[in-house]
Symmetry: D3
Amino acid sequence: MTTVRLLSDAEVDTIPGVKAVFDDIRATRKSEFVNNFWRGLANDPASLQRVWGEVKAVMVAPSAIDPVVKEMIYIAVSTANGCGYCIHSHTAAARAKGMTEAQHGELAAIVGLAGQTNHLVTAMQIPVDPEFDVTT
Amino acid sequence: MTTVRLLSDAEVDTIPGVKAVFDDIRATRKSEFVNNFWRGLANDPASLQRVWGEVKAVMVAPSAIDPVVKEMIYIAVSTANGCGYCIHSHTAAARAKGMTEAQHGELAAIVGLAGQTNHLVTAMQIPVDPEFDVTT
Amino acid sequence: MTTVRLLSDAEVDTIPGVKAVFDDIRATRKSEFVNNFWRGLANDPASLQRVWGEVKAVMVAPSAIDPVVKEMIYIAVSTANGCGYCIHSHTAAARAKGMTEAQHGELAAIVGLAGQTNHLVTAMQIPVDPEFDVTT
Amino acid sequence: MTTVRLLSDAEVDTIPGVKAVFDDIRATRKSEFVNNFWRGLANDPASLQRVWGEVKAVMVAPSAIDPVVKEMIYIAVSTANGCGYCIHSHTAAARAKGMTEAQHGELAAIVGLAGQTNHLVTAMQIPVDPEFDVTT
Amino acid sequence: MTTVRLLSDAEVDTIPGVKAVFDDIRATRKSEFVNNFWRGLANDPASLQRVWGEVKAVMVAPSAIDPVVKEMIYIAVSTANGCGYCIHSHTAAARAKGMTEAQHGELAAIVGLAGQTNHLVTAMQIPVDPEFDVTT
Amino acid sequence: MTTVRLLSDAEVDTIPGVKAVFDDIRATRKSEFVNNFWRGLANDPASLQRVWGEVKAVMVAPSAIDPVVKEMIYIAVSTANGCGYCIHSHTAAARAKGMTEAQHGELAAIVGLAGQTNHLVTAMQIPVDPEFDVTT
């Protein structure tokens, strides 16, 4: 159950601004499949255009971080935020880009360990060591 | 202000189980510096021993994920959890292991973008596409 | 699957303290429909009475903030907390009180943008500018 | 730096509705000390009255859960929510009611462990076992 | 303590892409003051340009939601995410745009109440009522 | 839908390191039932062994905190983190160890109240009272 309707391809074809973004998603990913996130966001064409522009700039354009690593970072944030959809879609993307099962297992282990030490640090309210200061 | 006392080296020296872990932290990291997290956790020697064992197993032992990448994943989770201490200590660790400023900038960009799309997905309550199913 | 049973109207009728709250919910909202949240909370009559009193005081009583705006703020908090049920029930309430689709789209855009800048600020651990101080 | 002013006793004395709540806090806790939370909330007398009523009902009134345990549950939630002030104030309250250092260490260990397994479960998106269903 | 340096105006003047964004921030807000968030983000000029573009599109451009309301939604999300800097900067912005003290008090009351019912719903794992479905 | 496969008993029997942990889970809990969390974690035998070791050390071994209280703290953290699976599994465990319905109702009330005051404190950014300092 969603709070907005998920637009079908037939509906998308009738809204030029949405159609253009869907075409670009398909061309960029070299795949006919457009996942539900974009079909929900299409209810607000301005947001669709803006967010897809962000995703292309941050996740698709050449960068200093390896594409698989970028997806693993995305999964890590989505896990801490408890966003099930995001975990599923970016785990699929990470696997498609070459993440191995061993790497997936280690990713979960790191995320879990960080969850533990994050909570311990917060419970004890540990002050930041001056040695970690980069501004001086 | 902490909720527990941070143990000094003089105090650590009087508790054999704690002293042994501090010695191992120093030997493993080849550095005399032991950061505040361990000094707080030392109030509960059993937790200190257990958590340091975890950190060694997950973050120090050879693995399928590159050490810098592991630290970047740790920073990503700590950011989503809002743990300032953890962000500072693991950003220092990531830099020490070779993270460049360009990679740090991109890391923040990915974490920020994930924060945005996580919230959009959650607001719209998007259902997981069956195409993402790995169990069938 | 819930962790408590959801009480039916027949069951509610047998517990006077619960029945009175359900009657007040129906009278206040001018609707026979009582949603699942109250049916779960009815397992603990003291909590039911207390929380409904809060909701009436904060969300129903006349106030300085417009009723639709109050529901949009509720949705915003529920999204950041990842509470799917809360997002659905308060999106329904906001629509019933007049939230347009354009406003819903903008609400999601603001929540998403805040998710991004919140994560960027946290990753960089930005200190509060003294210009924002209201206490001096 | 706060987003609202913290009211002094002199200011509180000039607002009858606020003064009455402060008097009740002091009488209930048998202490002259009124902590900052209430001094901030006093900017909105209706909220002050309502929230103090809640705290008395849930945390002070006789109940099926031991007072120290109630404070430990409060600390656990506050840790997961990353609320430093709440952790400090309820850790002080728990100690005042008899929480030992050993219990405090274990509390942090449980909270940390839950942080770890919570993140692992979320990363793997584990479905709920039908054996955990209480509604059938 | 930050994880990146906060750029001074003198430094900003030496980086054309950053200077142009700072000029636009000042022109858009009709104020010489540029807050720390942008000075931290300026370490990554591409992110600075992208995020400022988002903020202008979502928070500054004319829209279906009132400017004060938009800031209150921003504060609500930032509170649920525990981002202190974001709460301070957007509370200042909301006040500058006309938020009254009474509205601020009510905002906190709604955010607090949502925090309570969100946690109650999550603890009981309440299923979404079919009555809330908008997709059928 | 999970992001990893849940291993059946037949599959577990073919992986010695996993089989040994499952045997220990069954022996420790005196029950044939092994819940899905462990079946998902079994994809990464090293994590399975490590996390089960943690759970035994923190949740099963004799300690200064009562076993029912430990489960209630676990539920509290899981609720704040929004982990539905964790809430279900630990609510079942708490009931099996003797948590009454009255205690469960109060647990939810405390968790909800903490959610409310946590959000209020965060919205107001209340500074920690020096009276709460344990380090001096």
